[in-house]
Symmetry: C2
Subunit: 221 residues, 2 copies
DNA sequence: CCTGAAAACGAACGTTCGTGCTATATTGCG
DNA sequence: CGCAATATAGCACGAACGTTCGTTTTCAGG
């Protein structure tokens, strides 16, 4: 059996793997997933081209791994924190709020990773494109589901179409990211935030008989 | 003087020039402005790499010329027709309406040329990026100015911030283009149209004392 | 210490890219 | 016809790309 020995050696390999992908995600958010070059990535991380290449087997493998790593970061930085809020209007608000924080704070150096990746691969068929589309569908689903849940909790106007509103919110987010990257226009985020929360507020409903400060989990900080 | 002779020869050159750029615009809207390769463009148009190259002197020259050609098409297909409507609410409505027609009708094979180009070059400094940003500013300016003019004509709610609304409209347009390209989601355009015109309608005002059918220019067709 | 597998390396391959340099058609003018 | 100018073609270059291959380093377990 090689379990113990291989595991030990593999630990080092995984560390490299992770270090590579951390750099890859940032490089790709600036230069694009295709502009992300194996050679440049290797020198950026202080490794040989072939050594790095062996980790992924192909460029497509590297791109897929990079997309997956970016998704993990997005889940950690946006989705998980938002899900600490209780289901319903609170979570919906948090989801939008945290997204803007995330995009503004340059979690990825070149703005929202997926906005860039989706534009780049939208007319380039293959597994990378398929995975990106899948992830974006997840995000859309999350948004519209949060809206639905707010409606079910009687905290949100039941006549609005969740998918329609999710589309509008996502468009404003993409528009903001777009204006920030192209114009360095910081105001774009103010505008998008304003537009999103104006819509959310306009459709918000007080819960009819709930207590004034309902069972919201409150963090220590 | 070389005027006559050179002009005659130049006529042939200009014909090639135009034919090249027509193909370049479509190729670039699919593959991106960087993916637009001199070699591929040359074979696509049945010309030698060097022969084509001589027309533009550099890849950047080709990219700039392609951007300019795309702008011309956009002006012809969107701006000019919209400007046949009279200044004010009519023109604002036409501007939005025609934009959706334009994006849906695949005037550029790969969706809105500028949405793609802006995403691609937003973190790639240089003359190409600068020109694209300039053109997008033109478009923003046109949108917000049309809103202002509708306000001045008392046809639109004077309390809305033209720049804010222009930002929202543009975001919805980009979001629709984005969803169409990534998901092949035809509904995205229906959604975006709905969202845009809901906002326009919500803020529209009847002119207070104007005749029922004011001096609108009516086309023959 | 020795072994053997995992990890990283270095050099090379074939391709494609942008870009020069030189030569050949084409065409109106004198 | 020959001239001058323009358009296009042919060819070669250096660089960068993804990829392959054989070798060397590293290190836990026997």
């Amino acid at each position: 059996m090689k379990t113990a020995a291989s595991k030990a050696r593999q630990a080092q390999g995984d560390k490299s793997h992770q270090a590579i992908l951390e750099e890859a995600v940032h490089l790709a958010s600036v230069e694009g997933l295709e502009g992300l070059t194996i050679g440049r990535l290797a020198t950026a991380i202080g490794m040989s081209k072939s050594g790095l290449f062996a980790h992924f087997g192909s460029k497509e493998g590297l791109q897929l791994a990079t997309v997956e790593a970016a998704r993990s970061i997005f889940v950690d930085k946006v989705i998980a924190p938002a899900f600490k809020a209780e289901k319903g209007l609170a979570r919906l608000n948090r989801l939008c709020d945290i997204w803007f924080d995330y995009a503004e704070s340059h979690v990825f150096r070149g703005g929202c990773f997926f906005a860039a990746a989706a534009s780049e691969f939208d007319s380039r068929p293959g597994r990378v494109r398929d995975r990106i589309a899948e992830i974006m569908r997840e995000w859309f689903g999350l948004l519209s589901q949060s809206i639905s849940e707010a409606q079910e909790a009687k905290e949100f106007d039941p006549t609005v179409d969740p998918v329609q509103l999710a589309f509008e919110i996502n468009s404003l987010e993409i528009g903001a990211n777009w204006a920030l990257q192209l114009f360095d226009d910081q105001n774009a985020f103010k505008r998008a935030r304003e537009a999103v929360f104006a819509r959310l507020k306009a459709h918000s409903r007080r819960r009819k008989s709930g207590p004034k400060a309902p069972g919201k989990k409150r963090k220590a900080s």
